[in-house]
Structure formats: C-alpha cells, structure tokens
Symmetry: C2
Subunit: 343 residues, 2 copies
C-alpha cells in the first residue's frame, strides 16, 4: 500500500461514511440503506427493518462484572432498541457467537438464558445464528428484524424547525453504573477480600447491566397517532445523537439543562464522584432511551406520558446546536459520545 | 457453577442443538427457524430468508495469504450461498466488522472493494452493519436476506427414498487450495526469500480465496420447474452435509465414488501430496457447492446441466449412509467435516 491512514483520524462515523460513500442500491426492495438505526426493506409492498450489532469482550463488555445471563439479555435488547428507533416492532433475531474454549457449555447456557428471556419479554423469535470458536474472548453478533406499517418508519433526517425535541426515560444512569463497576473492579483487583459497596446503587447498575428497549414508547406513539418526524435510540450519548439528527435533518436545536431527565440515584452518585450530572446525561452512553422530534401540535398528547420529557426544540441549521444552562448561559453542544476508535 | 462441560464434548452442531432445544416460536411470521441454512420469515404473506455468519481471523481465515479484497468478497459469498441453498434469491446484506488499530483505512477500503464486488455481481444491496474496534484480529459478521416465492423454499428435511442425490460443480478444490497455502506459508516463514510455487494451481487457489455462490443452479432449477426435495450448501464437507440431510430427512443414502465430481487440477495436487482425491472431495470444506435431492422423474432435465452431477440416491433410514468405492466396496459415511471445536 502506498499510504496509511489511521482509522482514528476518521472516527467511527467518519469511517462508516468513508467506506459506504460509493454504496449503490440495486434492488427496488431497499427503501432505507446504510446510515440510520436500521435498514428498511420493502418486500412485496410491505416493510421490514433490519439492524445488526457486533459486541466484543474487552471493548463492549467486561466479564469481570457482567453476568452472562445479563449479557445475553443486553445483546438482544440493544438491537431491539434500534428496531424501535425506526418506529417498528421487532419480530425475529439471529444470534451468532464466537467463543474460546475458556467457556463451558454451562456458561453458554447462562448466556442463552438471557437471550431467551429478552425474546420472551419482547415477543421476538430467535431464528438463527452461527456458533464458532474464537482465539480469544467472547464475540457476539446479533441481527434483529422487525415490521413496520408501510411508510410509518421514522428516520433521523425528518426533524423540522419548530419541532419539539423529546427523550424517553432518564439519562446518564448506565454511564454512572459503568463508573461504579469500574471502581469496584479496581478495588477488587487490588484487595480481593473487600466486599463491593453497591448499596443503594441498584438502579444505575440495572441500567448498565440489564437495559430495556422502549417498546412502550413506540406503542404509545402508535396508540395516540403521533408520527415522530425523526427518531433514534441513545446508545452513544445524548449530545452525539442530537448532532446526528441535526446533521441528517439539516437543522439546529436548543435544549434546556433543567429539562434533562436525570434519576435521583444518578444525580447522587454523580455528586459522590464529583461529576456534573448534566455532563453524564449529555455524554454517557448505553441508556437505550429514544430521542425523537414531533410537531408542536402533538405537545398536549405527549405531556400525558410521564416517561417522555420535552427537552428543547429544533431550529434552523444556521443556529447550530446549543444547550441553555440553569444559569441562562448558552453553550454549543459537542459530541462527547463514545468513539470506539479513540482511547 | 456446579459443573463444567467442555464445548468440545458436544461439537459445533451438538452445541447448537443443545442451546436451542427450548427455543420457542411466538410470531406467525416465523416459518423456518434455527437448524437450516437460513431462516424463512413470512412477512405479510410473502417470504424472505435470513442467514448470518461470523468469521474470525485465525479461525476462518489467515491474512498471511488472504488478500483483503478476496476476504470481503468471500465473506459476502458464503452468506449468499446459504440463501441460494434455501432456493431463494439474495437481495440485501449487512456487514459488521471488528478491527484493531493494526488496520489502516486503506486496508478496510480493500476489504470493502471485495464486499461491493460481490454485491454487484450478485445484484445485492449492502444495507447496514456495525463497525467497531477489536482488541486483536479482524472479525466479520455478515447477514444476508433474500426473497423466495411463497412455499418454494427448500429445507434439509424433505429427501425421500428413491430421490436422486445431486451436487453442483466439483468438490475438494478449496480444501486442496488451503493445503497449498498452508504449505507455502510454512516455507515463507522458514525462508522468506523463496518465491511461492503456485504454478498451475490457479484453480484450487481461486476456489479457496474467491469462491462463488451457485446462483446459476437456483436459476436453472427455477427455469426448468424443478423443486428439489432438500438442499443445502457444502461449507463443512460433503460427508458432513449428506449426514445432515439424512438425519433431518430421516433417510439413508448410497453414493458412488466414481460419480463424485473432482477437477483435474484437484486430483493432480492431491496425488502430489499423496492424498486420496475422494477423501478430499468427501471431507474438504468451503466448496460452497449445492447439495440437493430431486425426484427421479426430474432426471432427464437435470442431466442437461453439465454443472450438476448425480452422485447417488436416497434410501430408507435403516440402511444408513454409505459410499460404494470404485472397487465395489461399501463404506459407512462419517462426518469428517470441519468441526470448529476440535483441533
């Protein structure tokens, strides 16, 4: 090769853009391709969505503090979350695993127990996969398939000036759960006899280890006949995802610090670590909440749902993406989201 | 954990059976689930197939002698082959990769060049994927989706007594290509200055590094209105696959050594290594040919296609699976196919 470009210079999203810039579509059945939470395929006039995730031990999870059952559950959930983020209903998953001989059959049974629990809870069928050896570590690849009523799927590019910016649940908890587990791991490695101090941290731990996908929100939107103008799930952090929506919708936005939903336990643990809870909510990943925009006329319907917070609104593209702090100051939003290629 | 069962005691297929034994189906849209080349989903009355493969550096490929372009091509092909093995036509793929910082952007461009070349040749759209870091090595996960005319999909369980056993193309070449590359790698590592001796080995090398999926066979079957009673692709070796069809169809079979299609170049290279070409054809993996059974009444149509060999016939389950050698001896067929969990 004549030249070498380090992947870190492009970043994850830059790399994907770069590698798919010449991607051509040949089949009429391909409605939405690379670049959203999931692809949309029109098979014979009806639409399905497809999404896939690759999870690698040491990069996406740490088996020192992740029970295998939870890992199996979460591996399915993160993909279902992408299906819901298209306003679709998941129906099938495939689960492939690469495992070294360090794992016993019993260990894999625990993993699959979690896979099946997620399938049962979300009414999804496990329909296939691949099982193979790895030289080192545990590798998981899940693909989820879902159905969506024709042309009711929601992409990231439809946010319009004046739309309300909404988010489900609360933010930052999974990231704080991760900090907690990293702290406990460090203590354990230094002094194995010390019992972990996880008291009153059950919420942030659960958010990290056993997240749920927001099926309820998609059902609420359908029941109330609300069609979001854009939607995605929050896996890399709120700021990062907001910037995706702004970029793909050619829009700006304003959000309000005092409107960000943060659970009391997250707030307390953030203070304990001398961290700003707002920074955790903006930049912490893996909450798997839904971020979406709706027309202002839907406001009265949305506020009926306590699980949805209106955190700001969409502006024109020239106004950029900003947050107004509690003290009334205005700051540009930067993507502090998780970047797999920077350490 | 109270006990530990080594994965090697179950083997790859035993492990899959074990882990999916309690798998429940909840969606009416799930027509065929775990246990075939691909799943079949009935979305709104029309059918699609889904299949997925996980490829791991050092387990499935060796970058010492695998050009990245070929690897990208092959990663797509092995999944398309599974779609054709369901008698379906592939329409979309997702490609996920896990990469360490050992890889440059240029290296990934080469990989994707191969992915796109396969997509173009087989008229398939790349619609998504996931790109992430790995601690070590290159990890590839591909999912392929295809369409099939309602209830024309072909599983592994429909072979009936008296059916003809057919195979496309020729067998054993990819395995011999692998032996050749392993030999050259060894020589290279011992004496880097020695030029590889690949003269006249282009066919077996191509079969290893740049396999094709048998689109032509599926098109031929459709054009001639032949509905196979069972079909699968040969990825783990002919014997292993024949035993799958016999087991799932509750049948036995007889095949004839002198009917096995083996390319002249494969035969010559096998002799050079003092190997039995028949053993290579039976046990060598990665040929990605189609193995299928048809009703005897289709015989006259099938023989018109030079790319299809009738290698034997299906018997009752009590007769087991056997091969009749050139010298007229009868041997039981054993699965010598590639087992990912035994070294």
């Amino acid at each position: 090769m004549s030249s070498r470009t380090e992947i870190a210079t492009l970043g994850e999203f830059g790399l994907i853009d770069h590698l798919t810039r010449n991607n051509e579509i040949r089949n009429a059945s391909t409605v939405v391709s690379v670049g959203d939470d999931a692809a949309v395929l029109d098979h014979f006039g009806k639409q399905i969505v497809v999404t896939t995730d690759l999870l690698i031990e040491g990069v996406h999870f740490d088996l020192v503090y992740t029970p295998l059952t939870h890992l199996g559950y979460k591996a399915v959930i993160v993909n279902l979350s992408d299906v819901y983020a298209m306003n679709a209903t998941p129906t099938q998953v495939t689960v492939s695993i690469g495992i070294s001989n360090r794992f016993s059959v019993e260990a894999l049974e625990e993993f699959y127990e979690g896979v099946y629990a997620a399938c049962q809870k979300y009414n999804v069928d496990l329909v296939g996969g691949d099982t193979t050896t790895s030289n080192k570590g545990f590798i998981i690849s899940v693909t989820a398939i879902g159905e969506v009523t024709e042309n009711r799927f929601v992409k990231r590019d439809g946010a319009r000036k004046g739309d309300l910016l909404c988010v489900s649940g609360d933010l930052g908890a999974a990231y704080l759960g991760l900090l907690l587990m990293e702290r406990e791991k460090k203590i354990f490695l230094e002094s194995p006899s010390v019992q972990p101090d996880l008291e009153e941290q059950d919420y942030i731990l659960r958010r990290l280890l056993k997240p749920e996908a927001r099926k309820d929100i998609v059902e609420f939107l359908e029941k109330n006949d609300i069609q979001p103008t854009s939607m995605m799930d929050i896996s890399d952090g709120l700021s990062s995802e907001i910037l995706h929506i702004c970029k793909q919708s050619n829009a700006g936005c304003v959000l309000y610090e005092d409107k960000l939903p943060i659970a009391e336990q997250s707030r307390e643990f953030a203070f304990k670590l001398e961290l700003d809870p707002t920074a955790c909510a903006l930049s912490g990943g893996e909450d798997y909440e839904l971020l979406f925009t709706i027309d202002q006329k839907e406001h009265d319907k949305i506020v009926l749902n306590e699980q949805i917070s209106v955190i700001g609104y969409i502006t024109g593209p020239d106004e950029g993406a900003h947050i107004i702090t509690r003290s009334g100051k205005k700051h540009a939003i930067t993507a502090q989201g998780w970047n797999a290629f920077k350490q």
